[in-house]
């Protein structure tokens, strides 16, 4: 197991390296540079001074040199400075990482809480009205864009019904660390997490449903029945367990999907997480932050797939990793 994780981590290094080149080039290809965002609202600044600043910051250096400097710093844990906010990038990430982590975790839990029972019901009794309803839901949820759905949810449950706060990650009036503070955090989390989860269920429902329908016809299920195993146990012990394998395999991809969704969700719910920071940084041309964030997303995606492989190797004895 340790060897496997090590090997996978080693493979991840060239992947991240390629990603870094790509990110760097894409960032360069965007109109403007790190300073144009800062000066964008300041027409009084002398252009000569601007170019002097650019020289000083090395923004006029050849690309390979700029890249080498950036990646060199990154490897040493030096994430760079945000030119827009004039603070270190890690300071900007610090408070937001936790928010996004909790939002992501809540989304993941809600996704499985919704998707697994629905997938099991649909697969257990296919072609019934319940099944048709579930399948319809999964197609509809797959086709609704998340930013439209999130806005609708925000409008209904946030503004009209007033059940949930419409923005922020915590109520500023409660004392940090108190019981109320945690409750308030959870309260702020729920609506964005639910909005994201309701749309993230599609693949899990579909995989689970189809896998159950397939597994039902497998010979080992006949063997189980031929042993006189009660129907309830045939399902719980033989069919469901085997059908959950692809769901486990897709955990990593679900994480990636939810991370992607969080960019929209956080923006719409004004939730101060990485996604919101990402969008803000792009509009402000805050390249130092954008680059680090994309690297982080890439790293988390690779971590997610690694996690999938590890989980799969635990639940499926046919897959050995060592």
């Amino acid at each position: 197991m340790f060897k496997f994780i090590l090997r996978r981590s080693l493979i991840a290094i060239p992947q991240l390296f390629l990603l870094s080149i790509l990110i760097f080039l894409l960032a360069q290809a965007m109109p403007g540079d790190a300073l144009s965002g800062r000066f964008i609202n300041n027409p009084n600044l002398d252009p000569a001074y601007q170019s002097e600043l650019r020289d000083k910051l090395g923004l006029n250096d050849p690309l390979p040199q700029q890249y080498a400097r950036w990646i060199g710093n990154l490897v040493q844990g030096e994430l760079g400075m945000s030119y827009v906010h004039n603070v270190k990038v890690e300071t900007m990430l610090e408070s937001r990482i936790a928010n996004t982590f909790w939002l992501g975790l809540a989304t993941l839990i809600l996704t499985y809480l919704i998707a697994i029972p629905l997938g099991v019901i649909a697969g257990r009794w296919p072609d019934t009205y319940t099944d048709k309803f579930i399948v319809t839901y999964s197609y509809v949820s797959f086709s609704i864009p998340i930013f439209v759905f999130a806005l609708i949810m925000l409008y209904i449950f946030g503004f009209t019904l007033g059940w949930f706060p419409t923005g922020g990650s915590v109520d500023v009036r409660v004392e940090p660390g108190s019981w109320d503070w945690y409750l308030s955090k959870l309260h702020h989390l729920l609506l964005p997490a639910l909005s994201s989860a309701l749309l993230a269920t599609t693949s899990t429902i579909q995989y689970l449903r189809n896998e159950i329908i397939d597994t039902k016809l497998k010979d080992f299920v006949k063997t189980a029945r031929a042993k006189g195993t009660p129907e309830r146990k045939v399902y719980s012990r033989h069919i469901f367990r085997n059908s959950l394998l692809p769901v486990a395999a897709f955990l990593g991809y679900d994480i990636v999907f939810i991370l992607g969704g969080s960019i929209f969700i956080e923006q719409i719910f004004s939730y101060p997480g990485l996604g919101q920071l990402f969008v803000d940084s792009i509009t402000q041309r805050d390249f130092a932050v954008v680059n680090v964030l994309v690297m982080l997303y890439g790293f988390l995606s690779i971590l997610g797939t690694l996690l999938s492989d590890i989980i799969l190797s635990i639940v499926d004895p046919r897959i050995r990793i060592d």
Binding site: K218, D219, F220, K222, T223, A224, R225, A226, K227, G228, T229, P230, E231, R237, H238, R241, N242, V315, D316, P317, R318
Partner: protein, 336 residues
């Protein structure tokens, strides 16, 4: 009650639903299996022999299968039982050995767990007793290192070993009756022989009644006491194994024997039976079902509604066409 057969199938019809209509895959089959008797059911692919086997255990999907007739096991009609009552018979009174050992075992469960599942369902044993019995069973079916295999997963075993495990599962509660659905089809020839020997040995020890489904006449010769030949859902000939091999009568049976390649005779071409088994939907419901595969036999030789005739003691043949049957090349010879 003394001479009551262990299993008595009466007019069993198994129909599958295809687009809202039911088509019988097993058509009005009646059979008896006695204790300590091996009945082989022979026929080509699609003739309904596996459907028959699954019908006895009621393992078909009940939503699209209709079972009619009676399957009496020790005097109890299994078709009238609820699923829960049926579960008391499955595994306990009757075991099943499946065709493909590669798919018949749950890939996520250890061999030990899978053997113990049947015991857990039927016998009141402690965990230690079950383990001891599982190890004993594994040893009995010829697994060299039971302790090790007990903890292994199916994918760690070879096909032959897995089939031994499947047999161990089937006999774990010492059933009086076994159904073996092509137990050697998926195995190498050398392993086939070992598995057949094992089954014969166990059958002698345990005095079980066995229904052996196969398309391999070699297997029949080695294993069976009696043979039923099935074609298109019906039994076309039934006799004890010596009679059938000595004196096959029905054109289908004779064609089957004629299709066995023989190196000794040095014949240049292998005999093939013309055509294919008609599909379930296109099966003729009247007349001799084999008639369209022996078109050179004149129409009048067949019965309009073929029934089984007892031509000698306990040797039954369907339809009268056997009297006029000859192979195409032999026509001249038979005329003289």
């Amino acid at each position: 009650m003394a001479n009551q057969p262990l299993l008595q199938i009466k007019n069993l019809t198994t129909s599958f639903r295809i687009q809202d209509e039911y088509y019988p895959a097993v058509d009005n089959v009646s059979l008896n299996v006695n204790e300590n008797e091996v009945l082989a059911i022979v026929g080509e692919s699609g003739c309904g022999k596996s459907a028959l086997a699954l019908s006895i255990m009621r393992l078909h999907n009940e939503l699209n299968t209709k079972l009619e007739g009676e399957v009496n096991f020790k005097g109890q009609n299994l078709l009238s039982l609820s699923t829960a009552e049926m579960n008391k018979y499955r595994g306990k009174e009757m075991g099943m050995i499946f065709q493909d050992p590669l798919t018949a075992l749950n890939p996520l469960m250890r061999i030990g767990q899978q053997i113990e599942e049947a015991m857990r369902n039927h016998l009141d044993l402690s965990d230690a007793e079950m383990k001891a019995r599982s190890l004993e069973l594994l040893k009995k079916v010829g697994i060299p290192n039971p302790e090790r295999t007990y903890m292994q997963f199916p994918h760690e075993l070879s096909g032959g070993m897995r089939q031994r495990v499947v047999i161990a599962i089937a006999i774990s509660c010492e059933p009086k009756f076994l159904i073996a659905d092509e137990p050697t089809t998926a195995l190498d020839v050398t392993i086939q022989a070992q598995i057949l020997d094992l089954m014969l040995e166990l059958q002698e020890q345990m005095k079980t009644g066995i229904i052996l489904i196969t398309h391999d006449l070699g297997v029949v010769a080695e294993m069976a006491d009696r043979v039923a030949v099935m074609y298109a859902g019906q039994i076309v000939e039934i006799a004890d194994v010596y009679t059938l091999f000595r004196n096959p009568l029905h054109p289908y049976t004779r064609s089957l024997f004629n299709s066995i390649p023989s190196a000794a005779e040095g014949s240049d071409r292998l005999h093939v039976i013309q055509g294919i088994v008609p599909s379930l939907k296109n099966l003729p419901r009247t007349g001799c079902r084999f008639s369209n595969r022996i078109p050179w036999i004149k129409e009048s030789a067949h019965e309009s509604n073929p029934t089984l005739h007892e031509v000698e003691k306990d040797h039954w043949v369907r339809c009268t066409c056997y009297q006029d049957f000859h192979f195409p090349g032999d026509a001249e010879a038979e005329k003289i």
